[in-house]
C-alpha cells in the first residue's frame, strides 16, 4: 500500500485571507518569525500496491480537474511509501 499526497496551494497572485489571518494571529502568541503565511490543502490518497505510471497519470488528471481549480490554484503530486 502506498499513500499519494496531493498538495494544493492558492497561486501567489491570489489573495489568501486565511493565511493573512494566521499571520496576524502568530505575533499575538509571541511568535514573531513570520513575514507572511499562505494556507493550502493536503490530500492523502491511499492506493493498493505500488503506484503505476498510469495510476499516477490518472491522479494528475484528478488533481487538475477536481482537487484543484487551475484558475486560482497550483498542485503538487508525490508518492509517500
Amino acid at each position: 500500500m502506498a499513500t499519494i499526497v496531493v498538495e494544493v496551494m492558492l497561486k501567489a497572485e491570489i489573495l489568501d485571507p486565511q493565511g493573512q489571518a494566521v499571520a496576524a494571529a502568530l505575533p499575538r502568541l509571541g511568535f514573531t518569525f513570520a513575514k507572511a503565511v499562505r494556507q493550502g490543502k493536503r490530500f492523502e490518497i491511499e492506493v493498493a500496491g505500488t503506484p503505476t505510471p498510469e495510476m499516477l497519470a490518472d491522479i494528475e488528471k484528478a488533481a487538475q480537474t477536481l482537487l484543484s481549480n487551475p484558475v486560482i490554484e497550483t498542485y503538487l503530486v508525490r508518492v509517500e511509501a
Binding site: E13, I14, P17, N69, I72
Partner: protein, 223 residues
C-alpha cells in the same frame, strides 16, 4: 415560458428563485441535480446555497452532477443560464464563466443590502435594465471575492462582459468591483447578489431584482 431551477443537495434559494419566476409571469419548473433531464425548459437558474456542502471548493462537486452535464452542453449552444451566488460559483467551476470566487477579503460572511450598478444590458437576463441603473439587492456569502488573471480581467472589461458592479463599497475584495459577469455570447450570466430576494417590497429591500426574471421572459418571447 418554462424556466427551470436546479435543486442541489444544500441549495437554499431554489424555492425563492421558483417564486420569482412565477411572480415575473413565467412557469417555474423544479429540476433535480441527480437527473440529466432539463424537462423542456427554455432557460435555467442555478440558485444560491451550499451545494454538496461546498466541500473542496464552492461549486466544485456540483459541476460534475448529471444535471450540470446537460446544462454545460446546452449553454455552449446558447441556452440561457443564470447563476446566483452559489450558482455563479458553479458556473466558474464548470468553466462556463472565467475566473473564480474565493474567500472574502476580511474573512467575514457578508449579509447586507448592496448597492450595485448595471453595466451590461445586452444579456437576456439584464435586457430590462438601463445601463447605469443603480440597484439595491441583498448579498449573502462568505466566498464572493471575484478573482481572475489580469489578462482575463482585461478581456472582460474590453468586451463589456461585466454585468454588475458593486457601488459605494466593495464588500469582499472582488477585482474591479465585479459583482456579475457574462460569457462571450451573453447567454450565461453569473451574479453574486440575489435578485430573487429583491422582488417584493414586503420581503426585500427593493424590487430591483425582478427585472432579471422579466428580462429572460421577454428575451424568450422575442426570439
Amino acid at each position: 415560458m418554462r424556466i427551470g431551477v436546479v435543486t442541489f443537495p444544500g441549495s437554499l434559494d431554489d424555492s425563492s428563485a421558483l417564486r420569482a419566476i412565477r411572480l415575473a409571469g413565467g412557469t417555474p419548473v423544479p429540476l433535480f441535480h441527480a437527473s440529466d433531464d432539463l424537462k423542456e425548459v427554455e432557460a435555467v437558474v442555478l440558485p444560491g446555497g451550499f451545494s454538496y456542502g461546498d466541500y473542496l471548493r464552492c461549486g466544485a462537486i456540483s459541476r460534475f452532477s448529471p444535471i450540470m452535464s446537460s446544462i454545460i452542453v446546452a449553454a455552449e449552444h446558447g441556452f440561457p443560464v443564470l447563476g446566483i451566488c452559489n450558482g455563479f460559483q458553479i458556473l466558474c467551476e464548470s468553466h462556463l464563466l472565467p475566473g473564480a470566487l474565493t474567500r472574502n477579503q476580511g474573512l467575514h460572511f457578508v449579509c447586507t443590502d448592496q448597492p450595485l450598478i448595471v453595466e451590461n444590458t445586452s444579456t437576456p437576463w439584464t435586457s430590462g435594465y438601463t445601463k447605469g441603473d443603480r440597484l439595491v439587492i441583498p448579498i449573502k456569502n462568505g466566498e464572493g471575492s471575484f478573482q481572475a488573471s489580469a489578462e482575463t480581467l482585461n478581456q472582460l472589461e474590453s468586451e463589456g462582459r461585466v454585468v454588475l458592479r458593486y457601488a459605494e463599497t466593495n464588500p469582499n475584495g472582488s477585482k474591479n468591483d465585479i459583482a456579475g459577469i457574462s460569457n462571450a455570447r451573453g447567454n450565461v450570466v453569473g451574479v453574486m447578489p440575489h435578485p430573487e430576494q429583491a422582488i417584493e417590497s414586503l420581503t426585500g429591500p427593493s424590487v430591483d431584482g425582478l427585472a432579471f426574471f422579466t428580462s429572460i421572459l421577454q428575451s424568450l418571447v422575442g426570439r
